[in-house]
Symmetry: C2
Subunit: 348 residues, 2 copies
């Protein structure tokens, strides 16, 4: 069953999606922690908060009034990092100073009118409505001919820079490929050219045989802790069908995606009995530049917590300067997540 | 004078040391912040703390007693992420599961016996003693024939995962090149092969002409905010002489390094009148694998703060999944640091 017999030995594993290594130090989880402890997230939010710029009928920074929406609601970010009217300019001085303008559209998606919920606490039907909206937004943005890449993501929890606890995500789309996508393009194309199968199709099939790192599986998706996970409880949801993007999901797949998303985020919350923080987002093929049969839709979850609801993993010094590093193994993390209940700890 | 006239336009800049882009959104610094606020670091540490495992004469986790050291003190990390007796093993299953054991030595350096100081608060002569020790440790570790790379670094501040405020740094050395070093190898070699000059020699000369991003300069070093800085107040110290590693520094250079290090860290503390957190570390040529004339010694500073002593930049969602992103420009950051006093705000 076991993929490695390095036992307690420090070792590196290759992230096949980026080609980059992560350092694993299994023996190091015994290290005592005397460092920074995070605040626990407040847990008594009202269903409606008159101060929240995401709640229905409230006023936003630009003066707009939110509609009295009943499911989910999307709008252009009032403080967008990318703007749609930026004109193309390039700059290259002696290969030392290289720059280029970047054009884009940034949107915000409120997942529900309820200020007091989070994805795992929402009904599966309500999560399915978010999936529908993600699909619709992806389809619409990919009709804008200058857009090359669409990043759908969520920052959950104050510790992950989320400045409003109202459940919401973002979509940043832009006219060039971001760095992490360029890496995944190269790695997936190399594999596909060689085997005429997607890298992730072969990878999840191998993981489904091994079972060691699998968290959940349904007809259309698998969730697992990847072999090369850098964050302690990093996870990935991968579609069984090798599709390039969310636009390709059929009704059944959207149902199954909502189901596995609810399961994974519920397990996360149950792990430390806290609203589990993370940054999560889908990686999908570039748009408006032809077919990308090598691309296989997947969603990454990068949660910062390590030991408890208040002690996180610090990706600092060595990690920033040299190499990402982790202590507990991906196999142990997967086992812990598998052992978590699938009913949310707050529901009775 | 100005390198770019993108004005307020979102744009990307290329990090010539890694080949990777960073997204700059100058117009976005006006965004109000309603998110997480950090605790202020406590400021009343005793000169000697009987509970501290780094103070002279105290007992450490492994039972060893620290000597009554007067300058600085180095020992093997009691919770090393890398171990020196790991045997070589490799693993590759179908190009999907790729792993390899990693062998190394991890050390801790206490910068001073004084529990209550930090680098900028130390006398320049005491910083020079730390530089001497870094050089000596580098020389000794590079005599271990299986070591290929030596990472000297410091995590400063609880917010950067530093679990003990006693001023100290670390050295992790290992038998393969870490990811970030591999990237810098490729980029520096490509440039050197083409021009027979180091990438950073040409880069700092251009920056010294432009002056826009320079913070300090002395006979042997320059400190600046790199054109491609990702963190708001990211900085780099670069040696004027293109040397491969710290072993090549002569007495005068070590004095000058201590001087510019004191200056930069003092400006940092003065910026927000706080003990400025950061992860910092030297990037140097690989060891025990021949000459690397393309390598040019430099030291990176990655500080997390953005707006004040308690509001940091979150490198989360979009940044983790797609591309590092910054709001204020490197030019504004450099100007602010240049305008900071060079006498520490706590000294009278
Ligand atoms: O070794 P320390 O100081 O206990 O630990 C700190 O630095 C290490 C090296 O950057 C990181 O791996 C840890 O996450 C961090 O908390
Ligand atoms: O857009 P928000 O939620 O205000 O901001 C948050 O997410 C962004 C995208 O990951 C980051 O750039 C910010 O640092 C973070 O605070």
């Amino acid at each position: 069953q076991s993929t490695l017999n390095f036992g307690d030995s420090p070792h590196t594993r290759v992230n096949i999606l980026t080609g980059e290594k992560v350092l694993v130090s299994p023996h190091r989880s015994k290290r005592p922690w005397q460092g920074q402890v995070e605040d626990l997230p407040g847990d008594n939010r009202p269903a409606y908060d008159p101060q929240c710029y995401l709640c229905p009928t409230n006023k936003r920074a630009d003066g707009d009034i939110n509609p009295d929406y009943k499911e989910s609601f999307v709008f252009v970010n009032d403080f967008s990092a990318l703007l749609k009217d930026t004109s193309q300019q390039e700059f290259n001085e002696d290969e030392l100073f290289i720059a280029e303008t970047e054009k884009g559209i940034c949107k915000v998606i409120a997942f529900t009118p309820r200020h007091d919920l989070t994805l795992p606490e929402m009904e599966q039907a309500a999560i399915k409505a978010v999936v529908d909206l993600w699909q619709k937004e992806f389809e619409e943005l990919s009709k804008v001919e200058w857009i090359r890449y669409i990043q759908i993501f969520e920052n959950k929890g104050a510790i992950m820079g989320c400045s409003n606890p109202h459940p919401h995500g973002q979509i940043w789309s832009q006219n060039h490929l971001p760095v992490e996508i360029q890496k995944e393009c190269v790695q997936q194309k190399r594999y596909f050219d060689k085997y005429q199968r997607t890298l992730l199709a072969d990878y999840i099939n191998a993981e489904l045989r091994k079972e060691e790192r699998i968290i959940d599986e349904n007809d259309s998706f698998v969730s697992l802790v990847p072999f090369w996970a850098a964050w302690p409880y990093e996870a990935m949801i991968v579609s069984k069908r090798p599709v390039q993007n969310i636009a390709a999901f059929n009704e059944k797949e959207k149902e199954d995606f909502a189901a596995i998303l609810k399961l994974l985020t519920t397990r996360y919350d149950n792990l430390f009995k806290t609203s589990f923080p993370y940054s999560a987002g889908m990686h999908q093929a570039p748009v408006n530049e032809g077919d990308h049969p090598e691309w296989h839709w997947h969603m990454h979850f990068y949660p910062p917590l390590l030991r408890s609801a208040t002690v996180k993993k610090f990706m600092v010094g060595y990690e920033m300067l040299a190499n990402p590093q982790r202590d507990i193994t991906p196999e142990i993390a997967a086992e812990q997540l598998r052992n978590c209940a699938t009913i949310h700890y707050k529901s009775k």
